[in-house]
């Protein structure tokens, strides 16, 4: 969009754009966000190489997935927020249909029915990670902010239906994350603190109801969290071992590929959910803080983009995507360090695995789209 002469005068120090910057602008790429993501992925690949037993084949596998995810991000970044908003309800409905299909004819993997084979095998719950906050933001876009109680009830239904469908698969971790991404939208939209407190109190009987709802292995996870040493060879094993791995790493770690816990195949799921323990063991507190700082940078940039956004839909969605990312990082690191129960949440962009990476990067594509498609109106 060409700048007017007045604007040119008002920004006399604006240096001419370099070729790279011009290309990035044309491709709707946010440089700061991209650098943060690349740094996380780069560091992640180092840790992963060690965690998969120095297998270059598996590493290449992950590099290819990262490549696909970055392409997805690039494509999504080209779609203007208005376009996304118009299509949001249809995407949400399609997601619900797919979730129902999974429950009836999905493929079973590891005791759960999560996969759907429609030419490509994928998990519809992944798509819902974006569809739920988008739907919530869409609903609030034309309405008065903060929302009224009756509107909140509608939103509650919009969030609860997919959450329950996913919980039925059963995939409690993803269900809770999806619920969180929707709830974040309401909180950002200005839900009153009094209501939050009330819901918090209601959560206690809710949790008790949930307890009866939960499967045995899920109950076990909670119990083990409270006292992992009670079951050192069963459910507590993962937590004990990951704590030993991280703790024995010390300040600077045992050195890359030298973690005895990880390399002795002692740490379960060390290339997926527990990869943070490998990082902590081999790179120590120093390495763990480095990756946390990188995550914070990415989240901070996302929140900045949310603040800069020009319409309700964009800012709620941007805020939700950024904060959901934070929830991922927190839940994974807290679970690996033994602060919260072991729910199957991977460390974003670092853990081995494909589908969730594409969803995450598509989310960042939305952030880039929101930031780069702003209408340059003077305030």
């Amino acid at each position: 969009m060409p700048l007017s002469d007045t604007q040119r005068l008002l920004t006399p120090k604006a240096a001419p754009l370099s070729d790279v910057a011009r290309l990035m602008r044309r491709l709707h790429i946010d440089g700061a966000l991209l650098s943060g993501l690349l740094l996380i992925c780069g560091m992640g690949l180092f840790v992963l190489y060690s965690a998969v037993g120095e297998s270059s084949r598996l590493l290449l596998n992950q590099v290819i997935r990262l490549g696909v995810a970055f392409i997805a991000m690039l494509i999504v970044a080209q779609l203007p927020p208005d376009f996304l908003r118009r299509w949001t309800p249809w995407g949400y409905l399609a997601g619900l249909v797919l979730l129902l299909l999974v429950l009836t004819k999905g493929d079973v993997g590891q005791g759960a029915r999560r996969w759907l084979d429609l030419g490509v095998r994928f998990q519809p719950s992944e798509a819902m990670k974006l569809a739920v906050p988008m739907m919530t933001a869409w609903y609030l876009h034309d309405r008065h902010i903060p929302p009224r109680f009756s509107q909140l009830l509608v939103i509650a239904v919009l969030i609860a239906v997919p959450t329950l469908l996913i919980a039925r698969q059963p995939d409690l971790g993803t269900a809770l994350l999806i619920a969180a991404s929707g709830v974040i939208v309401i909180i950002l939209a200005g839900m009153s603190f009094r209501l939050m407190l009330l819901l918090g109190l209601l959560a206690i009987p809710g949790a008790m109801a949930l307890w009866t709802f939960m499967k045995d292995y899920q109950k076990q996870r909670v119990l083990t969290l409270l006292n992992p040493d009670s079951d050192p060879l069963g459910a507590g094993y993962n937590i004990i071992q990951s704590k030993i791995a991280i703790g024995s790493g010390g300040l600077f770690g045992k050195g890359w590929t030298n973690g005895s816990q990880a390399q002795l195949e002692f740490l379960p799921e060390r290339d997926t959910d527990f990869i943070f323990a490998v990082l902590g063991e081999e790179f120590g507190l120093f390495g763990a803080l480095t990756i946390l700082v990188l995550y914070m940078f990415v989240i901070g940039r996302g929140l900045y983009i949310a603040v800069q956004a020009h319409d309700t839909y964009s800012r709620l969605l941007a805020g939700s995507i950024s904060l959901t990312f934070l929830v991922y990082v927190f839940v994974n690191t807290a679970m690996v360090t033994g602060l919260v129960p072991v729910v199957g949440v991977p460390l974003p962009l670092v853990s081995f695995g494909g589908t969730s990476m594409v969803t995450l990067m598509a989310g960042f594509g939305i952030l880039m789209s929101i930031h780069s498609h702003r209408k340059l109106l003077p305030h």
């Binding site: 791995a245 024995s248 010390g250 002795l264 902590g280 603040v307 800012r315 934070l326 807290a334």
Partner: protein, 631 residues
């Protein structure tokens, strides 16, 4: 519902949103702060506790190396076995000061100071919890010595292992080969899962070429170990029960050789003190009965591991004990090729059974002064083909070589397997060379050198010039002569046996394209002439063959030695000895129904019939039951 909404107030909405973002940021920082506090607690405050735990109670997956298959000779005698021995090992991650530890071990004379850099390299390259073997076989005294010192060497310990042992040592070194410590190059080539816990791999001979049969498959077991890597016994069984199931190792297959140790011993004894090689095989199937290269070495040194100095001594020995002359030594075949050329000449019509030449002791090409000499000064007088073989008349072959031509000579010698790898089942074979016009064109750059000269054909007819063959090729060729053209690929391994079921997989003889000669008369005549070499009235080796209790046939050869390079230094006597001609002999027996074919080469032995023929005879005596220690 949307219709009822009040008009949006963008300004207050944005203010509200920014407020919520600030709140979220604070909460985010608090949440990550909790994680960071937890990390500090684990990694700084309680670090020592966890470091101790990670050392103190670990489950280790230990590879269980398979037991290597045994190797037997033709009569079931063990020529390669596995003996228990204590070896000295070092676990890099448990050693505080590697240099100091290695230096002190060297001071105790448990390792050689020269090997320290190698051990340092090995300690750094592998995973730090994987043991590095410092010494493969400790003597009782060394074990006792180290046992006292052990507290001073954390991370160093002795472990019982099986070590490869070759009971016959140098006698089987070249044929059986040896195993040696895995090198970094080996590690890249081999399947790491299969070689987990293995420290050795076959390097030469059958040990190398049958590695995949002999080695077997590694298993693994789970161990609960303490900080020193030592297994904790007893009370940890609960923990062990929760671990995945162990996998037992699959031992390697046993290998049966066609080699006969008695024959091998006779050949080695006959070659003792000389440089040379003997190869004996069964012309009816290509089974190698004896393969000796002299001097030899003790293969156990490689299996146990030797010091750098010991290895240098073997490497630098001018007699090249490590060099397997039987498959790698290339020598001009000399007159041993005459029977094959005779068949070529008959088959191509270059000569016939009645053609006679008057040998005057030398031969000259038309329009040339140059004299190609016969070995016998004054010449053999009138000779026909039979005489030319029996008496080894060079002039006769010089003359007919012009009629055969180098390309036909090449074709026939090639059919007998000379000048190309035999494809024997051990590695390292050299091809040798049988020249042809085509070869010369590609071998030289210079136009003048690319041309083939008549004089080169002349000397090729007595196996000189460019021609080079290995003892194994000659043995295979004489076997093919003995079998009247039936050509088998030589092989050392007769069978591979599954150690569990005892099921033996016999390796069938591999028949190669026959050497086709249209007229049986030609075979009769040429073989008869070879018989007369050893048992005729004027044969060159009649002194060896006369009076033997069985019939035999053979052909002697003498090959000029290529001049010694200028920069090699030998004392005068040495030079003289090393410039003498190589002595060759090929033979088979019994004449009517051949069971054994032999090729002998004695470097600088001077006389084929005088030095090499008696060795061939001794081997045949032994095999046919007329030897001194025939059983």
């Amino acid at each position: 519902m949307g219709l009822l909404s009040p008009i949006k107030d963008h300004h207050s909405e944005r203010r509200l949103f920014i407020g919520r973002i600030i709140l979220s940021t604070v909460v985010s920082i608090l949440l990550l702060g909790v994680v960071i506090a937890r990390l500090v607690q684990l990694q700084v405050v309680d670090h020592e506790l966890f470091a101790e735990k990670s050392q103190g109670n670990r489950v280790r997956i230990e590879a269980v190396p398979p037991i290597r298959g045994l190797i037997f000779d033709r009569k079931g005698r063990v020529v390669a076995e596995n003996l228990p021995a204590y070896q000295l090992e070092l676990i890099p991650e448990q050693v505080h000061d590697l240099d100091d530890t290695l230096n002190r071990l060297a001071a105790l004379q448990l390792i050689e100071a020269d090997d320290i850099p190698r051990f340092k390299e090995l300690s750094r390259s592998g995973p730090h919890f994987k043991p590095v073997t410092l010494k493969f076989r400790l003597t009782e005294e060394e074990i006792a010595n180290f046992a006292i010192q052990r507290p001073r060497f954390p991370g160093v310990d002795f472990q019982p292992r099986l070590v490869r042992h070759y009971p016959y040592g140098p006698l089987t070194a070249h044929a059986v080969g040896y195993v040696g410590a895995l090198s970094t190059a080996d590690l890249e080539r081999l399947d790491p899962a299969r070689y987990a816990g293995t420290a050795h791999t076959g390097k030469t001979g059958v040990e190398n070429s049958f590695e995949s049969d002999l080695h077997g498959y590694a298993g693994y077991r789970h161990l609960v170990t303490n900080a020193r890597g030592r297994q904790i016994p007893g009370d940890s069984s609960d923990l062990l029960d929760s671990l995945p199931v162990d996998k037992t190792a699959e031992p390697g297959s046993n290998v049966y050789l066609s080699i006969d140790l008695d024959l091998q011993r006779v050949a080695a004894r006959a070659l003792e003190g000389r440089r040379g090689a003997v190869v004996a095989l069964d012309p009816n199937n290509g089974e190698v009965l004896a393969m000796v290269s002299s001097p030899s070495f003790d293969p156990n040194l490689f299996a146990i591991g030797m010091s750098t100095a010991q290895y240098a001594e073997l490497q630098d020995n001018p007699d090249l004990p490590l060099f397997n002359r039987a498959v790698r030594g290339t020598y001009p075949p000399g007159s041993t090729i005459k029977p094959m050329l005779a068949l070529a000449a008959l088959e191509t019509g270059a000569t016939n059974l009645t053609r006679k030449t008057f040998c005057i002791g030398y031969f000259s090409l038309p329009e040339s002064e140059h004299r190609y000499r016969d070995w016998k000064q004054g010449g053999h007088g009138p000779v026909d083909l039979h005489d030319a073989i029996a008496q080894s008349c060079d002039v006769y072959f010089y003359e007919i070589s012009m009629d055969i031509g180098i390309d036909a000579m090449h074709d026939y010698l090639d059919r007998f397997g000379l000048g190309r790898p035999t494809g024997v089942d051990i590695g390292g074979e050299r091809p040798g060379l049988v020249p042809s016009r085509e070869w010369k064109k590609s071998a030289f750059r210079d136009r003048d050198n690319q041309r083939w000269y008549h004089g080169e054909t002349v000397i090729a007819s007595i196996g000189q010039g460019y021609m080079l063959t290995t003892p194994l090729q000659l043995a295979s060729a004489v076997g093919t002569l003995a079998a009247r053209g039936a050509h088998y690929r030589p092989h050392l391994v007769a069978a591979v046996e599954n150690p569990f079921t005892g099921e033996r997989l016999m390796i069938p003889p591999e028949r190669l394209p026959d050497v086709d000669i249209s007229n049986d008369f030609y075979w009769d005549n040429v073989l008869e002439a070879m018989h007369d070499v050893m048992q005729g009235p004027r044969g060159t080796a009649r002194a060896v063959g006369m009076g033997a209790p069985y019939t035999m046939a053979g052909k002697s050869g003498t090959a000029q030695v290529v001049s010694i390079a200028q920069d090699e230094e030998y004392d005068e006597e040495e030079i003289e000895e090393r410039q003498r001609d190589h002595a060759l002999f090929i033979a088979f027996a019994p004449f009517e129904n051949p069971r054994i074919a032999v090729a002998v080469i004695v470097e600088n032995g001077s006389s084929g019939s005088g030095v090499a023929a008696p060795i061939a005879k001794a081997v045949m005596d032994q095999y046919l039951g007329f030897g001194d220690d025939a059983s």
